[in-house]
Symmetry: D2
Subunit: 273 residues, 4 copies
């Protein structure tokens, strides 16, 4: 491990799916913290309540599992209960480029770790997704502002296509510490540090059922592809489980990433202490 | 290495981008063959000629690099020269679910390896892609037919979303030896063997420039995201390089996969013999 | 009016929206029949039950209003009650190019009018719509078959884009008597007879609320565009009303269209006997 | 005709397709002006140069045919020559919600007619279109500003879906004089004046070939639907022709629309003086 005070370690856990995802978090977050000693833990919670959005109870459970910030995505509003608490949920951020001035909640936050401040920013892509404000333009304004206070900036970029995620990461290379993608629910194998110091991973993957399809019961998803008739997708709450995450090491002074490492825990990748 | 005659080893190399991708193939295919001794090598060539489609010269070069079969995808027709040779190109397959009876070329082929026959099938997804015939229905008919001759079946499923790829793999689990995805140009980290013996990898990734965006010059792709004005994407033919592939081991008798392993060769993952 | 026995008159009423649409039908279908004396009346019912799909009660009400055939579209399965009766509903057709062999119901039907037989065929486009089988290929097979029995063929082509609708109509010009589009809920002003005798109208429009947006309550639809948050769209069941239809005259012997005329009834186009 | 000085008459001509469209304009614009005496003539020119974008020569030809303002749409940048002159083309406007600060040109303009000032605003929708800034938010800011100077505001809203166009028109009902849609190339039959005085027409339609598909050669468009292979669409420059337009009468003082009337000139709707 690197010298204390010089490196900030961030653990980022991908889209928690339903109760299964919450239980995986409960079981493994303490173990991962024990193993890696991250100062900050960020969890994507857009699918935390029954696969669609999040309510206050689940938000609090994720925090009590050890998350410091919960990020969201295109499923932000799926659970209508979110409007009851998003206004006062200081550790919950939804994509910052949602229709400006039209929606509740915040798109980024900062947390103090000893003498350092880490900014966490959530954005959503536009390709093959519901219309939103321009993520590049919105991010540029926010990042310019944030950099007056800190150079430690973590971005959860929630998007469908690899090209939009890569374009975002390369465009902000050197301006932010890390760009980690979410949304596809499958971890990619391309974790790297770009030339100017931004860590990049196209998608961190999903946390929940291991034998579902994007975490949903297989038979329902397959049926939809076979007959195109509407089916209610439900989280596959039984059976084997999966955790998808990544660990980052950021230079405290420059905000440059020193390391990015993917983490998988599932029957094919058992947890090893 | 496993006992000869009992296991078929397949090497599958993801979307070759332009001349850079061809050069990577030329350099590393012999080395990979020396290291892994695959009996069959399959290469996705949909981006082989300047990033868009393939012409005969490049097709032949890929074969002479050591490919036994070349698969395609949504870029199949981008290079109009393909119509000059696809009718007689026995080792080139394009998605089998392209408009039935309306397009040249074939969607699958079989190759004899000693006493064994391997079928290679190419399909394209429909979510966020140009309309095509139903890949599930078309595949079901073809696979039912193929299985009368052989249980060794490899599928290159070219699709955008993780859910369509996973649904396909789970639906045909036990009916085919492997489903490997292509199209996103980023390798996923989820190689696994499904319960009934089908090897599955959501996306094998791309072979070509390492510092482009999906293999294209970064500045053009970024510009498009910033201003939405048309730009001509060009393969980033200079600079560092990347090879994305996977290795499969299939039980010769049952057609069940025994092993699937991802391969990356790039500056962050140097080739080691 | 033309000589009896030589001309078949068809009245086609566009997408009936909810209870309001049913009431409009109840009020004006008798009046339109009195005025135009159609031998056949066809009604699109994909939005008939609360804006989403159709149930048996509403299906029967539409028939009792005077419809001979009810056509559907992308909302076919929205009301799950449809599966209770579609198997035996002989006058209900859903797009014929829904996943072959995977869904209940029929895609076309024929009705006997005196000595003549009229075939009614429903299809769905693919551009910007849920995947389906190829409407051009499916239609070609069905139409080839139908023409062995009759040259009087009416097509409700349910699609989003004007180009797909026009391509379909021109491709089958001379093979069918009429191609009338549905789905956009706004009547187009391009009713015409193509050179080989097929009547064509890009979209017949919607029957229901006049001051909603595509028949839904305005405030909900506008809110969605402003903030992109999910809202439940509901049929605007109060207020002013609209009927959108067209009248066709088809030569009984050749199946060629002689006339196509749009019909609108709403406060800006009051019904005149 | 109404009392001079109290009513402003606006003629709006829909998407001019290629040379054929220009010739139609040349032939009929003088005749329409003679017949209707509009004080202002607006022409959508996004397809004016060979179906894709516009160059300076064609822009000037359209002006010399009698246009006061030329509006654009999603094809704005298709002809790269536009960047040569858009910076100084005072009568050319492109969608105002193109990426703010990233593209040349202007999104609205004003013209002086006697003592009155008319503002013309061009916007683009987001559903099934290339990403752009929020048209509702951008329009709100511009319209609020414009209304400090004038209440005579004409909007060309270039969009695919009927719902987005209708939502826009209803949202700005009473704030602008007219919302006329473009893009689908087929005139709709729903011209009306909304309760607060905004004239609305979902789509004005296209000006050019009458027997093409959206103005393109039929065989190429049909081929694309049959085989999904790339074809170069070309304007159908031979054969019968079509003009699509609408005429508006706006109360000079309040900016409220008094009348909206669609105009079609083609073999099925011959021009009558
Ligand atoms: Fe998710
Ligand atoms: Fe998501
Ligand atoms: Fe590719
Ligand atoms: Fe592809
Ligand atoms: Fe409808
Ligand atoms: Fe519909
Ligand atoms: Fe256009
Ligand atoms: Fe357009």
């Amino acid at each position: 491990m690197v010298e204390k005070g010089k490196i900030m370690r961030i653990l980022f856990v991908g889209d928690v799916m339903g109760n299964t995802g919450q239980e995986v978090l409960e079981e493994y977050l303490p173990k991962l913290k024990h193993l890696y000693h991250p100062q900050v833990t960020i969890v994507n919670g857009e699918n935390a309540t029954r696969g669609r959005g999040i309510n206050e109870k689940v938000y609090k459970r994720i925090l009590s599992c050890g998350a410091d910030v919960v990020t969201m995505g295109n499923h932000t509003w799926d659970n209508p209960e979110i409007t009851d608490f998003i206004g006062s949920a200081k550790k919950l951020i939804r994509p910052a480029n949602f229709s400006a001035g039209q929606v509740p909640g915040i798109g980024y936050t900062t947390i103090k770790i000893n003498q350092q401040e880490l900014a966490v920013l959530n954005l959503q892509g536009r390709i093959f997704m519901t219309p939103s404000d321009d993520p590049f333009a919105v991010a540029k304004d926010i990042i310019t502002d944030l950099r007056k206070k800190t150079s430690l900036i973590f971005v959860d970029f929630h998007a469908e296509t690899t090209s939009e995620k890569a374009a975002f990461a390369w465009y902000f290379d050197g301006q932010v510490s890390a760009v980690v993608g979410t949304h596809t629910h499958i971890q990619t194998n391309d974790a790297r540090i770009l030339p100017q110091g931004t860590a990049f991973l196209t998608d961190v993957g999903m946390t929940g059922p291991y034998d579902g399809i994007i975490g949903m019961k297989r038979q329902n998803v397959i049926a939809r592809f076979l007959n195109q008739m509407p089916t209610r997708f439900e989280v596959d709450e039984s059976g084997r489980r999966n955790l998808s995450a990544c660990l980052l090491e950021i230079d405290n002074e420059m905000g440059r990433a020193k390391k990015i490492k993917t983490i998988l825990i599932n029957p094919d990748h058992p947890f090893m202490q």
